[in-house]
């Protein structure tokens, strides 16, 4: 194989592509960073404005804000605030205005369910683990049925987590 062919083939190396979770989470962080500048002047507007404010506030509850909804974002299954967390996620998903935003929100929700499984595997009872796995499978099934979410991105999110899990188990 000549060296130029070797080099060209590296473009498609899996490690040279951003993971689905990084792609989705970085997008949220970058857009929040750029559009929340304390310049005294609103930077962000979408068309139409009222819709943009409604979506912005719903999406903001998924990632940040104060109060019960914010406190709920880090809650685990079987805690009092967990239903609040799930409700806020579903609201964000329903009210996402574009396929791109909806896909980002869906991928974030799946990543959260996976983290909950990992957390209960470390710290929870067998029943809690089973419940978190059921929650994950239910979420995947629901999101797979959405026609306005990129299923390719969702598959990549799941593959990335599978890959990381097998990397961790090889380290054990």
């Amino acid at each position: 194989m000549n060296i130029k062919t070797m080099l060209t083939s590296m473009k498609h190396d899996a490690s040279a592509s951003p993971s689905a979770s990084f792609r989705a989470n970085a997008r949220i962080r970058i857009l929040n960073t750029v559009t929340n500048k304390p310049s005294g002047k609103p930077v962000w507007h979408t068309r139409p404005k009222a819709w943009g404010y409604a979506v912005g506030s719903i999406l903001a509850t998924l990632v940040l804000t104060t109060g019960v909804v914010y406190a709920a974002q880090s809650s685990s299954p079987n805690t009092v605030l967990y239903p609040v967390k799930v409700l806020s996620e579903q609201a964000a998903l329903t009210l996402s205005p574009t396929k791109s935003v909806k896909t980002t929100v869906a991928a974030t929700i799946i990543s959260r369910r996976i983290r909950e499984v990992e957390q209960t595997q470390k710290e929870g009872t067998k029943k809690e683990v089973e419940q978190s796995i059921t929650n994950l499978n239910t979420e995947i099934k629901n999101i797979r049925q959405l026609h306005d979410v990129s299923q390719t991105v969702i598959s990549k999110t799941l593959e990335e987590h599978d890959r990381r899990s097998s990397d961790h188990s090889e380290d054990d």
Binding site: M1, I3, K4, M6, L7, T8, S9, M10, K11, D13, S15, A16, S17, P18, F22, R23, A26, R27, R29, I30, L31, T33, V34, T35, P42, V43, W44, H45, T46, R47, G52, T98, S100, V101
Partner: protein, 175 residues
């Protein structure tokens, strides 16, 4: 949507336009950073810093012979330079006495045994300017005219750099 329209909308603070620009260029920027840095978590950091910087300075971008993608890659280059400035000094190629790996003779580089990881290690042993040329020309498959604009060097210089970079890489890989 045309990139110029997206840039115009992003300049006016349209968050969806920012998102579209991110979606279009995230793969290319990530790859460029990854092949220069080679480690996943730092690549993610630098990639993210690059996009924040792109969006913070998008109002300063003016086409005037500089395509948007070239401007974007220049920002990525600057972030990579900043990253390395904060690291410990790297060993330059001239300080490496012997790069030979006795397990890898020329006959090992068959299609079956080609190892991306090893190639990345070899690329990162090149001087920075050679690494950039290798990545932009042979991995990203950009035209010389694009590279010339991106690196702000004459096309004739780009051709010379390509030839020297390949020669040096072959020498490191013993092929």
């Amino acid at each position: 949507m045309d990139i110029q329209i997206l840039i115009h909308d992003a300049r006016n603070g349209d968050k969806n336009a920012f998102g579209e620009i991110y979606d279009r260029y995230i793969d290319a920027v990530y790859r460029f950073v990854y092949f220069r840095i080679g480690e996943k978590y730092n690549t993610e950091d630098v990639t993210e810093q690059t996009f924040v910087s792109i969006f913070e300075h998008i109002r300063e971008y003016e086409e005037k012979g500089l395509p948007f993608e070239a401007w974007l890659f220049r920002i990525a280059r600057n972030k990579i330079i900043d990253y390395y400035r904060k690291q410990k000094p790297r060993v330059g190629l001239e300080n490496i006495v012997d790069l030979e790996d006795p397990k890898r003779g020329p006959e090992k580089y068959t299609e079956e045994s080609f190892d991306h990881e090893h190639m990345m290690t070899c690329i990162r042993q090149l001087p920075d300017s050679y690494q950039e040329i290798i990545i932009l020309k042979f991995i990203e498959e950009k035209e010389n005219e694009e590279i010339s604009v991106l690196l702000d060097k004459p096309i004739s210089h780009i051709r010379v750099l390509q030839s020297r970079a390949l020669q040096k890489l072959r020498s490191i890989m013993h092929i």
